[in-house]
């Protein structure tokens, strides 16, 4: 196993002592098979136990270790050392406030995600004795890719619109609303529409497409948002040109 000495430039910020963040460099002996998260763990274990960052699964499932690696939103557990030169810069996820070092504040995203009601709202109440809601493979396929979202927030870090207009509901939350709207078992679209079709909702999106380019799970949030725009536009025409169609 080959080993390389990597200079890891990490943005540090201690809210108790610092007025602004600063870079700190660590020299890390990395195995070629390592990911950036392994290098950070090496720093934490051997060089500087004060370094703060989030991680959990180390296998691109939990969505905790999102950070900017050489300016690109990445999961640190999926960013292989062999794809980089000997100098790697690590920043906290862009567009989010820094709590400490590489740890960002996620409250804004969590609030927005909850606001779109990301859960099944059945069309009608049904007793358990009525059995399960059935779904065909085609009905499942319609939304399956959106269920792969791991809430890692890389799409928010890539989205310049979210960076410029922090009120924007953002890619993952709207994609999650779309996921449930597309679900044949769901009847909650009208409730979600009030949030996602608002000014701070899908219409803030100008289809930069960066969210889909950085998504580690190939959810394609940009696609979901454009589909929401098409559906919302059809709603508008139905309401204004065919008011008798309104429920």
């Amino acid at each position: 196993m080959s080993e390389r000495q990597i200079q890891l430039e990490v943005l540090r910020y201690n809210p108790e002592t610092d007025s602004e963040p600063r870079y700190q460099s660590y020299s890390v002996p990395c195995l070629n098979e390592w990911v950036v998260l392994d290098a950070l763990n090496y720093v934490k274990d051997n060089l500087d136990p004060t370094l703060s960052y989030r991680w959990s699964c180390h296998m691109a499932v939990c969505g905790s270790c999102g950070m900017m690696i050489n300016g690109e939103p990445k999961l640190a557990c999926k960013a292989f050392i062999h794809e980089y030169t000997d100098q790697i810069r690590v920043d906290p996820l862009a567009n989010f406030p820094i709590e400490r070092d590489l740890v960002t504040s996620v409250e804004d995203f969590i609030t927005k995600l909850a606001s779109v009601k990301p859960y099944l709202i059945p069309k009608s109440d049904q007793p358990v004795s009525a059995g399960e809601f059935k779904q065909t493979p085609a009905e499942l396929k319609k939304f399956k890719q959106y269920t792969l979202c791991i809430n890692c927030m890389l799409c928010y870090a890539a989205c310049p619109q979210y960076g410029l207009v922090p009120e924007f509901l953002g890619p993952a939350a709207i994609s999650m609303a779309h996921r449930y709207n597309q679900d044949s078992r769901d009847g909650g679209r009208d409730e979600r529409q009030e949030v996602i079709a608002s000014d701070e909702g899908v219409w803030e999106c100008s289809f930069v497409g960066a969210c889909s380019e950085v998504c580690p799970k190939h959810v394609d949030p940009a696609g979901a948002l454009q589909q929401v725009k098409v559906a919302s536009t059809i709603d508008w025409y139905k309401e204004h040109l065919m008011p008798w169609m309104k429920k």
Partner: protein, 127 residues
């Protein structure tokens, strides 16, 4: 202690920070050329309404080096603008047939095919 540090995005220079943002801005800026061309068409209509001499003057202006250069620039911008949108249509308009999504290249290809047919018709009508 909770004292989050907020980094803000440059309101004017943000699109210079990433190649993908530059590509996006290129797509957006090309619509200005199309916007300018619609003004040219409206101007042409105005000259047509003013009589044959005025319209001939308009046509002569189009054939001037500056007119040709403008049309060429608009053509390049319009082609870039249109193709960049064609290429993202499968994301915005996925089509399901049976249990499968129609492959993206078929949706994109259909746009190019319709474009070619419409261009051909316009060319035939124009000759």
């Amino acid at each position: 202690m909770n004292k989050p540090y907020v980094r803000s995005l440059s309101k004017t220079g943000w699109f210079l920070t990433q190649p993908r943002y530059k590509r996006y801005m290129a797509r957006e800026v090309t619509c200005l050329f199309i916007f300018a061309y619609t003004f040219l068409l409206i101007w042409g209509l105005k000259r047509l309404a003013e009589g044959p001499d005025a319209f001939q003057g308009f046509l002569n202006a189009l054939h001037s080096p500056l007119g040709v250069l403008f049309n060429l620039a608009v053509l390049i911008a319009a082609v870039y603008h249109s193709t960049s949108w064609f290429n993202v249509t499968p994301q915005a308009m996925p089509i399901m047939r049976g249990e499968e999504f129609v492959p993206g290249n078929i949706i994109v290809g259909a746009h190019y095919a319709v474009w070619a047919v419409v261009s051909l018709i316009v060319l035939i009508l124009g000759v």
